[in-house]
Structure formats: structure tokens, C-alpha cells
Subunit: 323 residues, 2 copies
């Protein structure tokens, strides 16, 4: 059987993760990597050609699915509708509040293609769990916790503070909150009761550390509603201990049936957030290609795609081996 | 909108759980309970009519989905193909090895109906996790653990030992095994290394307890391959402490992407196994009715049904609230 021809658009952390995942998938072949940067500056792991993003339009029909690996704010809002006109696509669009309008835009473009949007782990696997848990246990309360892990958005916010050279922010779910959910007590938890925010900051020489710390801790939306710790470290320590991108988290639901407490839990413990995100996207790329082959066109979410479409295995094998 | 009309076939523990779940679902109405027992002997929680199972054939067109709550070995193999001829059905058929042949039988009968088979939690939710986990993390190893909780099959096996009046068997996942998986080491685990089996036995007066214990511990398939404990208790203690049907378990997968360890985990902690099983089945009953309305007939599994079909909420609401 002919292997699915995959294109990767954007070669940052997720793009590199997608490359590794495609190379590991026996039913896929990496056809090309597309970039807006100087193609000479990209050194892929594989020997896939690196092409300027404009070259994609000449490859309609040669690529079964494009993995869009750009950022939600900067890249995807523009790229997804553009690529969905001619290619099946998957992405990990994660601006939760804007998903309905993004979905509608992509759906308009995906007239004769299939686009699976927001299919990383949150949105993505976590969203699936929230829906499956709520449907299985309607009388209950659901909770999502993130971390321990690096939040890119919060790290960027800290890096934007005057006097900060470099920074990373770890989101830490509070054990007390997780335990109270696991015990079935359905607590009402404030932002502060759910997560702690730990910042590691490399300050510019001579910067006023007290002011930096104060600016971070009082930053609205990002930190003001949380208990936040700020620790100043050297660039060397930053390089040695804070370059990895671990993440993870939990989706929990505790509920009741007939007076009995029932608790459902899903968790991820990831050494590499972007690689895992990419690995999930590759499973949905397989689904996008299969859906398109059945002419199930348009913009889809993880809620719309049966699990049979994700696996390399046949339905019969899944039923025999995993049901 | 007209409520879905639900029938329950079989009024044991799962049947009673299904009744509670239907009563709690705002989009469903319990039309009737069908039994093979004397209808006078059944005292339902609701005021739904209790009818002999033969009465069902006169109600074709009046019931949108039948929840089959019988046992896999004794009831379902016969009932499911019979009911699927005229009704949409769901069941929790759990004889894993025979599922492919059972699916084929039900599929043959479900020509103009939709049947979702094996949709409890294992098979069911656990199966979904095994497939989702394997698809998300192909380079890895998957594990299922059951318990702590009552295994009906093993309890029945103990109750069959001569001299045993009553008994319950708890399956206990071993922490050492679970931890080794969580740590990403992909251990190869024997049956004995994964689960402990605890039996609480009420013996007949004057029975030879040593012989009973020996018979249990050496029973092939059920106990011989495990570390098994046997504790003799009084009927009073049995009644006081061992009448509940808690269960649960875990599906884990540890794998690698680009040299980074990634761990996925799903767990259930259930105070009532039959009520939770029934609650999941009710979500799939909703799916069966919707699939049938779209003429997606035949026998389906949890692998075939998109999550949108399970929820009472609209797709747009799911996307806005849970994606």
C-alpha cells in the first residue's frame, strides 16, 4: 500500500517533533518541510527537502496531509484556511476562546479537503476526556489541571518584563486540590487553589530584582490570581536545568450514581510537550487522510473522529486485540 | 423534543443501575423493564411497567433503544441478535475472546437497527484508552490493571468450591508494578507481578478450611498463577463488609518520542461497578439512537462512535465548552 505523503509546515519544536513521529510511522513518508525562514538555515533530522512555504501550492495532489506546526496567534489563523483549500491538514490550534470562529473559517476553506483542528493534548486528548467523562457521569463535576510543566504563554509573559533576560514558568497543580477531587468531594476551587506558578528568571546585570519580582507577581490574568514564586538564577543554571519542555496534567471528574461516588481520571506525564503534541497530531493526520478518502470533508475536531481512524491497525485487529 | 424511549432488559445489578441512569437523563424516558422472572417479583425504583420479555415484540416502534443488562455467557449471546432485529440495542458483552464472533452475529441481525456492543468500562472505556494511547504513542508498551475491586468471575469460582457458603474475591493491582510502568521502564510483568487476589470466604459449618484454601489457591487460570490470600469470615461479617461492588482500575502506556519518556494513564475508582457500567451504556444508548436516525445501522463498538454522539450537548456546545 502506498504510504501517506506528509508535509510539515513550520520547523520549530512541534515541527521537529512531527518529523520524528512521521519517521517512526510505518505507513507514512515525509514528503517535504515548509518554512518561512531561509531554507538553508533549517537542518532537518531526515533527508526530506526543505522548501519555502510558497512552494506548497505547486505540490497540490502530491501531499496527503499537511501538519501545521505554527503558533496559534501568529501563524495558524492565516495558514490553516489557506492550506485547507488544497490540502488535508491537522493543527494544534490552542486559543480555546477563539476555536469556534477558527473552526468556522477553516470549515469554509475545507470544501474538498479534511481539516482536523486543535488535535494536540489540550485542546485534544484532554477535551476528549472532558466530553467522555461528562457523558459517562452526568451528575458530577469536572476538573482540568496542568503541569507540572512549562507554560510557554506564562514564560513569554515573564520574558516580557523589563530587566528580564531569560525566564521559564512552571505550572504546578496543588496536591491538596487534586486529592480533594479524587476523594469525590466536588470542591469549588479558585485559580489560586488549583495551581502554583514557579518562575525562574535570569535578570539583566544591575536590574532591580525586587521590581521584577513585583511586576511578575502582580501581572493581571497571568499571575495576580495565583500564588507565584520567583527565583533568580544565572544564565548557566538556566541553560543546565531549564531547557527541557516537560509538561502534563490531569483531567478528573468525580460524580455520583445512585448515591455511590465514582471517580474518573486521565493524566499525562510528558518529558517533551512538543514531541507528544506532534505525536498525537500524526495520529489525526492519518484520520484526516482516511476521512478525506471517504469524502468526509470540512473542519473536524477530536469529538468528530472515531478512534478506528487513528490507528495504523485495521478495525478487525483493534477489536480483536484491544477491545 | 420528544424524549428517547428506553427499555431495560434484565433487572439485576446492571439493570437497576440502568434504571437510575435513565431516570437521571433529561433526554430519556424509561418505557418498560423486561424480565424473564415473575414480573410480580420485580420492584423497580420508578413506576415503569415491568413486563415479561416476550412482550417486547409487540412494542417494536415504541422503544428507541433496549439496554441489554444480562450476563455475557447466559443471556446476551442469545438476546442480542434477537433484540437487534427489531430494536436499537446496547450491551456490555465482556467475554473478550469471543467479541469478534459475537459482533458478527449481532451485525447480521442489525440490518435496520444500530447495536453498540461491549460498551461498559472494560470492554468499553478501557478499550478506548488502549486504542487512543497506542495511536498517540506508537513506540511504547500498554498495560491494563483491574481493581482494587470485586471480580464477579473470580468470586463465582470461589463460591463453586465444595464447602464454601459465600465468598467474594478482590483483585488488587500491585503498587510495585504500577509504579514501574509510571516510571517509564516498560517492564515485562507476569500475571503474578501485576495483581494480588484476596478471597473472603464463608465456610459451611464443619468444612475443612485447609482443603478449601488449597483448592482455591491451586485453581487453574483463576488463581494458580497469582499470589492469592484466603481469609475465612462469618456470614455476619460478610453481610456487613462485603456486599458492595466497588471496582476500578487503570490503563497505562509508557512510551518514547525522540528519546523522551511519555506516560499516559487513565483510571477509574468506582464505588459501584454495575451502576457505572450502566451509566456508560446509557451514553452509548443515546449514540445508538442518533446513529440509527442517520441510518448508520449494524453492530458498532466504542471504536466506531464519535464522542459527539454520546453527549446530551450539541456539537457546538461541546466545542465551545469542552474543547
Amino acid at each position: 500500500m502506498k504510504k501517506m505523503q506528509i508535509g510539515i509546515v513550520g520547523y520549530g519544536n512541534i515541527g521537529r517533533g512531527a518529523e520524528k513521529a512521521v519517521l517512526a510511522a510505518p505507513d507514512m513518508e515525509l514528503r517535504a518541510i515548509f518554512t518561512r525562514r531561509d531554507v538553508q538555515s533549517i537542518k532537518p533530522i531526515s533527508n526530506a527537502p526543505v522548501l519555502p512555504i510558497e512552494a506548497a501550492e505547486k505540490m497540490v495532489g502530491e501531499i496527503d496531509c499537511m501538519i501545521l506546526c505554527g503558533g496559534s496567534a501568529s501563524d495558524l489563523a492565516e495558514q490553516a484556511p489557506m492550506f485547507a483549500k488544497n490540502f488535508n491538514i491537522v493543527d494544534s490550534y490552542d486559543t480555546h476562546a477563539k476555536i469556534p470562529e477558527y473552526l468556522a473559517e477553516v470549515d469554509k476553506a475545507a470544501v474538498s479537503t479534511t481539516a482536523v483542528i486543535s488535535c494536540g493534548w489540550d485542546p485534544g486528548l484532554f477535551s476528549m476526556m472532558r466530553t467522555l467523562f461528562e457523558s459517562s457521569l452526568p451528575d458530577g463535576a469536572g476538573y482540568s489541571f496542568w503541569g507540572p510543566g512549562v507554560s510557554q504563554g506564562h514564560s513569554n509573559a515573564v520574558r516580557g518584563v523589563p530587566g528580564v533576560l531569560n525566564a521559564v514558568q512552571y505550572s504546578i497543580p496543588l496536591d491538596s486540590a487534586v486529592e480533594s477531587v479524587r476523594n469525590g468531594s466536588r470542591p469549588e476551587l479558585s485559580a489560586r487553589q488549583k495551581h502554583l506558578r514557579q518562575c525562574y528568571v535570569v535578570a539583566e546585570p544591575g536590574a532591580d530584582k525586587q521590581t521584577i519580582e513585583q511586576t511578575i507577581k502582580t501581572m493581571p490574568h497571568f499571575f495576580a490570581d495565583y500564588d507565584t514564586t520567583v527565583e533568580f538564577i544565572s544564565e548557566a543554571e538556566f541553560a543546565a536545568n531549564h531547557k527541557k519542555m516537560p509538561h502534563g496534567g490531569m483531567v478528573l471528574r468525580s460524580g455520583e450514581t445512585g448515591g455511590n461516588t465514582q471517580v474518573m481520571e486521565f493524566s499525562l506525564k510528558l518529558e517533551s510537550n512538543p514531541e507528544f503534541t506532534a505525536s498525537v497530531m500524526i495520529a489525526y493526520a492519518r484520520a484526516a487522510v482516511r476521512l478525506a478518502a471517504e469524502k468526509q470533508f470540512g473542519a473536524k475536531t477530536v469529538f468528530d473522529v472515531p478512534l478506528t481512524y487513528l490507528s495504523e491497525k485495521s478495525r478487525a485487529d483493534l477489536i480483536r486485540e484491544l477491545l
